[in-house]
């Protein structure tokens, strides 16, 4: 079954999974947008501009980091190959453009993030599945019975762990009651995702280390989790004061 899935969505077709996840996530987020005080049109617009900035920003960031090369081969800027892409630059561009759009349209930060949360949650499921299809973000070797044969070894199915964790988080969010304060919904999602990553990253191979032995991704996830708790507490205090 895994082999059939990996053949069906072998790279570069694995990116279809991200497109499907983005579409599904947006559709589901639309259904709940008004619950968070955001119209469907605003949600669609902010997502559209964010995705557009993600695509263009990812390409531009890659080009800027390799300027001498693109001076020699300028046509490469418009190449259709998706490998000319910097995901960190893409995410930064998407956040900046979405923030600018939100500010221009007078959208409040927390309700907007709450409305986008289901989109992020489904996108994470798509990312897990695309990792599984491409065989990237793979796990350490294991002799556990649920290990999968990948890259000539039996490994922790970290891609399946992250997909299942994302699905579980989505389920929790979908059935969660209206949050008491704008922002709690988004922060709960971020805390749950950070917690899941903190756990799963321990089984990933090839992570960068800091302080000679600590997994950098786990440390980042821990810091994100701590920040979420702090932000939740600050929001709850504001609510109490306002009340």
């Amino acid at each position: 079954m895994l082999a059939v899935f990996q053949n069906l969505f072998a790279p570069p077709r694995h990116m279809l999974l991200l497109v499907i996840a983005a579409w599904l996530g947006l559709t589901l987020a639309e259904k709940r947008a008004e619950r968070h005080g955001l119209s469907r049109d605003e949600l669609n617009n902010i997502t559209f501009y964010g995705l557009l900035a993600f695509i263009i920003g990812g390409r531009l960031s890659f080009v800027l980091q390799n300027i001498p090369i693109f001076i020699k081969s300028p046509a490469g800027i418009l190449s259709i190959n998706p490998d000319i892409f910097d995901p960190i630059g893409a995410a930064a561009a998407a956040i900046i453009i979405a923030a600018m759009y939100g500010q221009r349209r007078g959208l409040s930060l927390w309700p907007t993030l709450d409305a986008l949360t289901l989109f992020f949650a489904i996108l994470m499921v798509g990312i897990g599945l695309s990792h599984l299809a491409a065989g990237t973000a793979f796990g350490k070797e294991t002799d556990l019975p649920w290990g999968i044969n990948l890259w000539n070894a039996i490994r922790h199915p970290t891609q399946i762990y992250e997909t299942l964790a994302s699905l579980l988080i989505f389920g929790l969010l979908w059935f969660q009651k209206q949050s008491p304060r704008p922002g709690i919904f988004f922060l709960s999602y971020t805390a749950l995702t950070a917690g899941a990553q903190l756990f799963i990253q321990a089984f990933r191979e090839g992570s960068s280390l800091i302080f000679n032995s600590l997994n950098q991704n786990q440390v980042i996830a821990w810091a994100a989790l701590a920040l979420c708790f702090l932000a939740i507490e600050l929001l709850l205090r504001q609510t109490k004061k306002a009340g």
């Binding site: 990996q6 090369i69 081969s73 090839g206 708790f229 507490e233």
Partner: protein, 180 residues
């Protein structure tokens, strides 16, 4: 839940998280580099020995010390055709710095009589190897063509590009990384 209950919960979760980071820290097991051979970035490139149509033999592991591009292609594959001029151009430009291209034709799923005219049409001067028994196709777990593997001077795969065509700019970024 009261404030003090919440704070206790946060502290417990963060302490458990920090403990997990320390318990699961494993400096020896975080890098795939050089441990196993597999067609994925960070692994040693799977070794192979193949012949050119003229019968000259090439073994990948004997090219250690050079940066190598293993490009898997077929004559019937349009993106393979489209990227060949860029590969040839980059080969001409970087070969003096220790860059080698091995153009591995998937002969077991190609027309062997089409290979010669293809090489002539594009004026390819780098070694064209024939994978007649799917030895390389299987070792590199090929599911799409073209598939390109950039291998550094130590024999470790630095980048995998599945699909194409690769532009000159993309080739340059990957080659310069492999040459480091």
């Amino acid at each position: 839940m009261t404030l003090s209950q919440r704070i206790i919960l946060y502290v417990l979760i963060l302490t458990a998280g920090a403990s997990w980071i320390f318990i699961s820290s494993d400096p020896a097991g975080t890098s795939a580099s050089g441990k196993t051979s597999a067609p994925q970035a960070g692994f040693t490139a799977p070794d192979f020995t193949l012949k050119t149509p003229e019968g000259e033999e090439y073994t990948l592991s004997e090219l250690k010390g050079n940066a190598v591009l293993v490009n898997l292609w077929a004559t019937w594959c349009p993106p393979c055709r489209a990227e060949m001029p860029a590969i040839q151009k980059m080969y001409d430009e970087y070969k003096d710095q220790g860059f080698v291209v091995l153009g591995v034709n998937m002969t077991y799923q190609d027309d062997p009589f089409a290979i010669g005219p293809f090489v002539s049409e594009y004026g390819l001067t780098f070694p064209i190897l024939l994978d007649e028994t799917s030895e390389v196709g299987a070792a590199y777990q090929v599911r799409s063509l073209p598939s390109s593997y950039f291998i550094n001077r130590l024999g470790i795969i630095t980048e995998v590009v599945i699909g194409g065509p690769m532009s000159e700019a993309l080739l340059r970024t990957r080659i310069e990384e492999a040459l480091k």
